[in-house]
């Protein structure tokens, strides 16, 4: 089977969908001739033309708003916001418009827009190229929110998102575009070709939205995580010799509570790990849901590991990033609880 990194897998998903469905259009800053600053749309304009792959003005609010209009007129726009940190000018269009058009129009209108955007830190991006704002979107009713952790899922989930009749915000953890990352910046980079999920079929396939995946089966405790932190969590548990079950959430909305709570009910211990800031983060929703459903199975308090509640600092990137040490402390604390 072909090996792809996450960039190639996302490119392949868009290529497949542009080829299959004439209503699919790609739009965003530098996505056309140049192929995107992270190369995710490379070659697509050359292959499908300037009316299918559109370079846009630098106006995120305008990009999402016109994508909505196109979608209302029967197209399926896939809009790229160059960095998740730049998505806020589009926030009103996403929150007040995109998320609610179906509901407010009694189901008469809908806008199947996909907004792709690279998120997360670990690339020396400072406060405006490192954020993980998924909780700000998961809190909004009417949009689906997805974050893959590997190339196979990235392609399958993006195809599903494009085919979905509802709007989807699709977060791409850019630190793992080129390879899985276990949280240690001093180790040499590892390519996706060393990882089973770097095997990606060329053609059309889907990964369902709304289904979590067991990234590793285990019995001693459950780690609920997503994106880059799936790999960091695996390494942290391995480092402690723990038989952890690792649930890759993959989709924040709709959330696969059965898979998550089923696992925690079995293991009785749970640590939640995400890179985004902790306060009001998506981990709070996970923790509350797990507590509601698994209270009588829990042998220890649920702990959250997250980025600190500060902007992402350029010089202290690795003190900010919830690396293996921070995850390991939480794992030990949960295991040592009575």
């Amino acid at each position: 089977m072909p090996q792809m990194n996450m960039i190639q897998a996302l490119n392949s998903a868009m290529d497949v969908m542009l080829g299959r469905d004439p209503s699919v259009v790609i739009m965003g800053e530098d996505v056309g001739y140049f192929g995107g600053v992270f190369r995710c749309t490379e070659g697509l304009q050359r292959k499908y033309g300037e009316h299918r792959v559109l370079d846009t003005p630098i106006a995120e609010g305008g990009i999402v708003a016109t994508a909505i209009g196109m979608a209302v007129n029967g197209l399926r726009p896939v809009a790229e916001i160059q960095f998740a940190d730049y998505i806020y000018p589009a926030y009103d269009q996403i929150v007040s418009e995109l998320a609610r058009i179906r509901h407010r129009s009694g189901g008469e209108f809908s806008a199947p827009v996909v907004v792709r955007t690279p998120c997360g830190g670990g690339i020396r991006g400072g406060q405006t190229h490192s954020q993980s704002p998924e909780a700000l979107f998961a809190h909004i009713c009417g949009i689906k929110v997805v974050m893959p952790s590997n190339p196979y899922d990235a392609k399958g989930l993006l195809i599903t998102a494009i085919e979905d009749d509802d709007p989807v915000i699709f977060f791409e953890p850019k630190r793992i575009y080129n390879g899985p990352f276990d949280g240690d910046p001093h180790k040499p980079a590892v390519p996706w070709s060393t990882h089973p999920k770097g095997e990606v079929p060329d053609g059309h396939y889907t990964v369902p939205i709304g289904k979590a995946e067991v990234a590793r089966q285990g019995s001693e405790l459950t780690i609920v995580t997503y994106g880059t932190m799936v790999h960091v969590s695996e390494a942290a548990a391995r480092g402690l010799g723990l038989d952890a079950e690792i649930i890759d959430v993959r989709t924040m909305v709709p959330l696969d509570t059965d898979a998550i709570c089923g696992s925690v009910a079995r293991t009785g211990r749970c640590v939640i790990v995400h890179e985004a800031t902790r306060f009001g983060g998506f981990g709070a929703e996970l923790s509350a849901t797990i507590q509601e459903q698994c209270f009588w199975n829990l042998q220890a308090p649920i702990l959250r590991v997250a980025g600190w509640d500060t902007p992402y600092p350029h010089a202290f990137e690795w003190e900010y990033f919830p690396g293996q040490a921070r995850v390991a402390r939480a794992l030990k604390a949960v295991m040592e609880a009575a």
Binding site: E29, Y33, G62, R124, G126, E319
Partner: protein, 413 residues
């Protein structure tokens, strides 16, 4: 009826492998654009937004009504600031390539804009810069070593390790902090100017953004508020033709000039040769006087060219002809001011070479000093606990707890 509706896609004049093509640029000869009184109503001076104010002609003479008649000494100071900026940029670019700093953005080709404007303004006027206005710091007297410490995120970093390289600020020098998100500073400058008017001072606010970021809604908010309240602000579109890979046509520059957005909002719009130090200086003086006389805002479009890559993460050979800049019809701002001074018998090739050597030495010595305060990888380092400070004025309990957690984490390592 057969539909003739068809999506228009702006044409990019030249891509790699093509001949550079600047036939789209509307130029006019130096000295030809009239200079109205700075109190003229915006509706009567629309021509300024469609023409091109130029002072230096092709023979490097200063001509026409916008000639600012500056002392040769001032021109030499301007040349020095521009050259320092270029020498500094070149050195920082090379240092980024060697891995000592994580990121850099050069302003090559655009130096005249920040230098001439910085010199034409008062030091008390407030600047809301973009990320390519580093020359303002030199005009206002900030030592080179201070900027280097920011680039290094070291123990003397004015941003305390929190910001990407080039996102400087200087409260005392009246230069605002840079966001990293585009265009946000533009309406903020208008608000600052509104406050100056409310307080009754004669300070002016000045802001810059690129042709590309003029597409953001913030640009339009700025023009609208500036127009409604007739704020004492100078709003600048640095039209350097390229927003990373995207040609200015995609920002709306194809059908009319950026300066013409001004009259659309009832604001004076002036299109100026951004590579002509004298023209930029003259237009800035005009706009500042206009603002101080209570005649409101000016939108200035500086026609220039981004000669360097967008940033150290960018490779322009992938999207534009390699020799594009060499064919840019408005030339190079440093070279043009140099030739003008030589023509005035106030400069020479020898003095120019000596100045470059002096500045290179100064920059090299400054770098040596800067790294003694630490780099990202060696030497003294800022305390990581600084990341928890300044989130709020007083640190709330949850951040104090997280700071303690981090300390425990680091001690364990």
């Amino acid at each position: 009826m057969v539909s003739k509706s068809r999506l228009h896609v702006p044409k990019t004049p030249a891509r790699p492998g093509d001949q550079p093509d600047f036939s789209y640029l509307r130029l006019s000869p130096a000295g030809k654009t009239p200079r109205p009184d700075s109190t003229a109503p915006a509706s009567e001076i629309r021509y300024l937004s469609e023409g091109l104010v130029r002072v230096l002609d092709d023979a490097h003479q200063a001509v026409g009504p916008w000639h600012p008649h500056l002392d040769a000494k001032d021109l030499q100071v301007g040349l020095r600031h521009m050259l320092l900026t270029r020498v500094f940029d070149d050195r920082m670019q090379r240092i980024q390539r060697s891995g000592k700093i994580s990121f850099y953005m050069r302003s090559m080709g655009e130096e005249a804009i920040s230098v001439a404007m910085g010199m034409a303004l008062r030091p008390t006027d407030m600047a809301f810069p973009s990320y390519r206005n580093q020359a303002l710091y030199f005009v206002r007297g900030r030592p080179v070593v201070d900027l280097m410490c920011q680039l290094l995120s070291n123990t003397r970093d004015m941003c305390k390790g929190r910001q990407l390289p080039v996102m400087y600020q200087w409260r005392e020098g009246r230069i605002f902090s840079i966001s990293g998100n585009l265009a946000t500073q533009f309406p903020q400058a208008v608000g600052w100017a509104m406050a100056a008017a409310i307080k009754g001072t004669d300070d002016v606010a000045v802001s810059w953004l690129g042709d590309g970021s003029s597409a953001e809604a913030d640009f339009h908010h700025a023009l609208l508020f500036a127009s409604v309240y007739q704020a004492p602000v100078i709003l600048n579109v640095v039209n350097n033709q390229w927003a990373i890979s995207t040609f200015q046509g995609f920002a709306g520059g194809e059908h009319q000039t950026f300066a013409a957005r001004g009259p659309g909002f009832g604001i004076a719009g002036v299109r100026v040769d951004g590579n002509d130090f004298l023209a930029v200086h003259a237009v800035t003086q005009w706009a500042a006087e206009r603002a101080r006389l209570g005649r409101g805002p000016t939108l200035i479009e500086h026609v220039t060219y981004r000669a360097a890559a967008h940033s150290t993460s960018d490779d322009p050979s992938r999207y534009r002809p390699k020799d594009d800049y060499e064919r840019f019809p408005l030339g190079d701002p440093v070279e043009r001011l140099k030739q003008h001074l030589i023509r005035l018998n106030e400069w020479s090739e020898e003095r120019h070479a000596a100045l470059i050597a002096e500045l290179e030495e100064h920059v090299a010595a400054s770098w040596k000093e800067a790294v003694s305060y630490g780099t990202l990888s060696d030497g003294p380092r800022l305390d990581p606990r600084l990341m928890f400070e300044d989130v709020f004025k007083d640190m709330p309990a949850h951040l104090a707890r997280q700071e303690a957690e981090l300390r425990a984490e680091l001690e364990q390592k």
